[in-house]
Amino acid sequence: MMKEVFKIEGLSLFYKDLQAIKNIDLDIYKNQITALIGPSGCGKSTFIRCLNRMNDLIPEARMEGCIRFDGEECQVTGYDVIGLRKKVGMVFQKPNPFPMSIFDNVAYGPRQQGVRNKEVLKEIVEKALKQAALYEEVVDRLNDSALTLSGGQQQRLCIARALAMEPEVILMDEPTSALDPIATQKIETLLEELKKEYTIIIVTHSMQQAARISDYTAFFYMGELIEYDKTNVIFSVPKNKQTEDYVTGRFG
């Protein structure tokens, strides 16, 4: 039996009066890649932002239900949100490196946690960059601005930035949608490697991508979780008609 990292029960999220997520039950398994698919506006991005409580930043958003992270209820007030975000890293849709050097980008997270020792930081940065398969490409120019990197490199830098925090889970919100096919392929290969150490939850627009890389796939539609199963099940013998229509491209 695989270990659950996240156990989500009856999760709903409201923006003012609008219910963006409707009563979702879902378990995320350790060291697996879980893909969230569904048409735009179906609530998948909103959903992963519940997992590191980024929705806290929206004043009108209200959450109901229960999320357990490593067995502990993490949606309650008083839970150490910053601690949660350290353990649950996030990579965004568009590469968004900070306007500072490559090194400083990766070192940013540890520095905010009070790591000052140069040698330690150097080690962390090197390890993270290696894990993100970026080290070879940037080793001579760690002090160059991160904005000089190509789009694909920038996104891998953002992954390295998240890895530097040594998280347990990495949330990825359509990480390849702004990248060209070659850069996308590099990132997909990277994810295969990363799953040995990390749990990855990836929101993607591309069904092929979900089919290629993920172990589990969840299909969202209109804020509801329609179907959740092993990826090969979802793509070959889905139980739900809507899922079948979506994965075969016959959708609305």
């Binding site: 975000r85 996030m90 968004n96 306007p99 400083d104 940013y108 601005s145 930035r161 925090m165």
Partner: protein, 310 residues
């Protein structure tokens, strides 16, 4: 653009030409200003100033005394120290107004609840629209006595509080709304996903604001500072009321009397003619050159800093 697709009728082409005249005249004022003031400004150097002899340009640019001898017999003018003092005072005022302005902007854009933020914006706009003469008046009536007492408490000489500190305070107050307003806009337009990325890395909102938001907004913040410096260099009446009008220099002491290019242009203007009047145009030309060079240099630095990591 839409205008490309229009076709021009006859009446339209007449209108267009007529309107162009307005455009050309409006655009020509900067040329007029430069031309006429330069013509007047070089006069003291190339004419014999009705028998007094011409002003020595080199001494004018390097001398440390404004005027040697009485106005009606001397052409020995120096403005070099005025340039140094003007720059010194403008940058010193920025040392005060820049941090306060940027942090106020950060508060308005990122921390304050909506109603508070909109009140603060109103306050900043109001401060920006208060005329400089009022700042000068408040400087004289409110700040000079305080500076005077402060100087006495520190055992320093201070002629009624006039001088460096008074100018710096007045200039800082005046440039505060400029810096705040421009910084606020650029802080507000920082890409939200950058801040979210920082938060997602476990940084606190405070850390994010100071490390990421300010960093990402630095170009706009720098522009605000450049604008503020330009204003401070050219400010005249408010400065002239609190300067104490030092006739020699350069003066750097906080409590010593001081002077700027503009305050010297205004000093004694009411009762002067001839060379002493014309030389003020030369100071005006010098002022424009100083502002131009400062702007150029700061913009150059801004471009450099924009590309290099901090």
């Amino acid at each position: 653009m839409a205008r490309k697709t229009y076709s021009l009728s006859k009446i339209d082409s007449i209108t267009s030409k007529a309107m162009m005249a307005f455009g050309i005249i409006s655009a020509s004022f900067i040329v007029l200003i430069s031309f006429f003031i330069t013509i007047r400004g070089i006069r003291p150097f190339i004419t014999d100033n009705s028998g007094l002899g011409s002003v020595n340009l080199w001494r004018f640019l390097t001398d440390t005394v404004w005027l040697r001898g009485p106005t009606f017999i001397s052409t020995a003018y120096g403005a070099g120290f005025l340039v140094i003092q003007t720059l010194y005072l403008a940058f010193l005022s920025l040392v005060i107004s820049f941090p306060i302005g940027v942090l106020t902007a950060l508060f308005i854009a990122k921390i304050a609840p909506k109603p508070v933020a909109s009140i603060m914006r109103g306050i900043v706009e109001l401060m920006a629209s208060i005329p400089s003469i009022v700042y000068g008046l408040v400087g004289v009536g409110f700040f000079l006595p305080i500076i005077y007492n402060l100087a006495r408490a520190l055992g320093q000489q201070s002629p009624g509080g006039n001088g460096t500190l008074g100018i710096v305070v007045v200039l800082a107050l005046m440039s505060l709304p400029t810096i705040t307003a421009i910084s606020e806009v650029s802080i507000r337009s920082v890409d939200k996903s950058l801040e979210q990325a920082s938060l997602a890395l476990g940084a606190s909102p405070t850390q994010t604001r100071f490390k990421i938001t300010l960093l990402a907004a630095k170009s706009g913040i720098f522009s605000g500072a450049i604008l503020a410096i330009g204003r401070a260099l050219g400010e005249a009446t408010a400065v002239s009321l609190v300067a104490g009008n030092a006739r020699s220099g350069p003066n750097f002491g906080l409590f010593s009397i001081n002077s700027t290019l503009t305050s010297t242009m205004l000093e004694g203007l009411k009762e002067t003619v001839g060379i002493d009047y014309d030389i003020r145009f030369s100071v005006g030309v010098l002022l424009m050159i100083v502002i131009l060079i400062t702007n150029f240099v700061l913009n150059f630095i801004k471009r450099k800093v924009g590309n290099v990591n901090v």
